[in-house]
């Protein structure tokens, strides 16, 4: 019995240690970022900053710091991207979920393709195309790149959302004399709305966080928040980089905490970025 108790205690300690280790590996890097964001001075070999403060926050947010400008640019681009994506993805998702389509397998293949190939060749050559169309360094150019990337995601989620709507409800509405359009607007769309909102949030976040495409297409005139962060970090300014990173983290983590209210794992399986 004593041996049993001992091994139970050992197991308890092993579990606690494992969880503790995992917690350190996950929150350690985040905590390190927080320290840098609030560090006034931090020289080697100090384990923590010699001086804490908010002076760098002031510098980030003053007009010359560029953070406000980048934040506005980023959010504006993300909103335009969402509008563009939903306008295209909602009809496509509905058709995929509800209508008989010719060459269905081929169409599904086309919508899977962008996920299965590395994005870099795409961005590199879009940048070349846009250079000739004079779209490089413009907000519209960046929106198009983000939208093309987010569209695949949006179509899959929208299609899953429409597929989940009970078609008997639609039939009932049609039987009572509602036109197809009215049936869609008053029955199908409201029932699919949570999924569509989820896809909008996904696209918004993807756009907000996107780096590589903006790096190639947006330069030199469009500086989004990720680019600002990258430039500060490469310039060795860890405080500015960490503060900007923190701004980018907040929406990502907030979404992580609520994502399961919108999406189940099987829809997420379709998403994979």
């Amino acid at each position: 019995m004593i041996g049993g108790l001992g091994s139970r205690a050992a197991r308890l300690i092993a579990r606690a240690l494992t969880i503790g280790l995992l917690a350190f590996l996950i929150f350690g890097p985040l905590a390190n970022l927080m320290l840098w964001a609030f560090a006034e001075r931090w020289y080697f070999p100090g384990k923590i900053p010699q001086e804490f403060g908010l002076a760098f926050w002031g510098r980030v947010f003053e007009p010359r710091g560029g953070a406000v400008q980048s934040l506005v640019t980023s959010v504006w681009i993300a909103l335009l991207t969402v509008a563009f994506c939903l306008a295209v993805a909602v009809p496509a998702g509905y058709a995929l979920a509800r209508l008989k389509l010719p060459w269905r397998a081929a169409i599904l293949f086309v919508f899977l393709l962008p996920q299965a190939i590395p994005n870099l060749p795409i961005y590199v050559n879009i940048a070349r195309m846009f250079y000739e169309l004079r779209l490089n360094g413009t907000v519209h150019g960046v929106v198009l790149v983000h939208a093309a990337h987010g569209l695949v995601l949006a179509v899959w989620i929208a299609s899953a959302a429409f597929a989940a709507v009970d078609s008997q409800l639609e039939e009932a509405a049609r039987n009572m004399g509602a036109s197809p359009l009215r049936c869609f607007a008053t029955v199908t769309l409201p029932l699919a709305a949570p999924g569509l909102i989820a896809s909008a949030i996904f696209v918004f976040l993807e756009s907000l966080d996107e780096f590589t495409g903006t790096y190639f297409v947006g330069v030199p005139d469009v500086t989004t928040l990720p680019l600002l962060m990258f430039n500060a970090s490469m310039g060795g300014n860890y405080q500015i980089a960490s503060i900007t990173a923190l701004l980018l983290l907040l929406p990502s983590i907030a979404f992580m905490l609520v994502v399961e209210r919108f999406l189940k794992a099987d829809v997420l399986a379709m998403v994979g970025r």
């Binding site: 996950i26 890097p29 086309v110 060749p121 050559n125 569209l151 399986a269």
Partner: protein
């Protein structure tokens, strides 16, 4: 207007966007990689790519494959414990913990790891403080190891989420039968649970593989000097030399790496979508 025409009309704009922003650039990439200045066919860009960047190609493959192994190990361990573990509070803690990096972008992950893994970073301070290493042994991990850690940190939660979801929907009777026969938990996990969710694990890993192949920010921020990943070389060819030809050749080579994984994934996904449609 019949349903088929209506369907095609509704889906046409989306297909057009994919055609213009994926198929056309992809064609341009292939074209650019095989065309010389006079417009003729050439393999010179590939020769130059192999001459300059063979090490980086191998480096890229090794890093991404190692990351996949690490991601699989973490995902199987965590999802397995969430499915078979008996200690409810540990499971709840685990479920709450593992997902934090899920939607954190790569570029932010790069910045986070730049501070955490540096010589003066928190990892070294904790290792030294807990007596695990001597202060003089502290070294910067901002090389290939940093890229590996960043990739696993960022991608493992995604694969774990998929895998835990798949495991949760398994038939519990088999698992309980094996447990009642006295099989230890790790054997139930590897022998009974894992084979049934192989497909999900595969999809998660292939998506991660392809994603990691085209991440530019992490290697650029953690390990920009040679040997490094091919994405850095592509960016360098373009920004420093304006050399789209070699950049496109490098892109095609990384596409070749990805196509192997992509083929597996597409086959699986189309199969599943067809089943779904039936």
């Amino acid at each position: 207007m019949n349903q088929r025409t209506a369907g095609l009309l509704l889906i046409a704009p989306a297909l057009a966007v994919i055609a213009v922003f994926f198929i056309v650039p992809l064609g341009l990439s292939v074209h650019g990689a095989f065309t010389d200045k006079a417009g003729g066919f050439t393999l010179a860009h590939f020769d130059k790519s192999f001459e300059l960047y063979t090490t980086d190609m191998l480096f890229t493959l090794v890093i991404v494959l190692l990351a996949c192994v690490g991601i699989a190990a973490v995902a199987i361990a965590i999802a397995g414990y969430l499915t078979l573990g008996e200690h409810e509070r540990t499971k709840a803690a685990l479920r709450w913990l593992y997902r934090w990096p899920l939607f954190i972008p790569f570029v932010v992950t790069g910045q986070i790891m730049r501070t955490f893994l540096a010589k003066n970073g928190m990892l070294n301070h904790v290792l030294v403080g807990s007596g695990l290493i001597e202060p003089l042994a502290a070294q910067s991990l901002l090389d290939w190891r940093g890229i590996l850690v960043a990739f696993i940190w960022k991608q493992a939660p995604f694969v774990t989420l998929l895998l835990a979801g798949a495991m949760a929907s398994l038939d519990v009777q088999h698992i309980e039968a094996a447990r009642n026969l006295g099989a230890p938990r790790w054997r139930v996990l590897l022998g009974i649970v894992l084979p049934q969710v192989r497909g999900t694990l595969l999809v998660g890993l292939v998506l991660s593989f392809v994603t990691m192949l085209s991440v530019l920010s992490v290697p650029l921020m953690i390990n920009p000097n040679s040997p490094t990943m091919m994405t850095v070389d592509v960016a360098y060819r373009i920004s420093t030399h304006g050399d789209y030809a070699v950049a496109n050749a490098l892109c095609l080579i990384s596409l070749l790496f990805a196509s192997l994984g992509a083929w597996v994934y597409l086959r699986h996904a189309v199969q599943r979508a067809e089943e779904h449609a039936r």
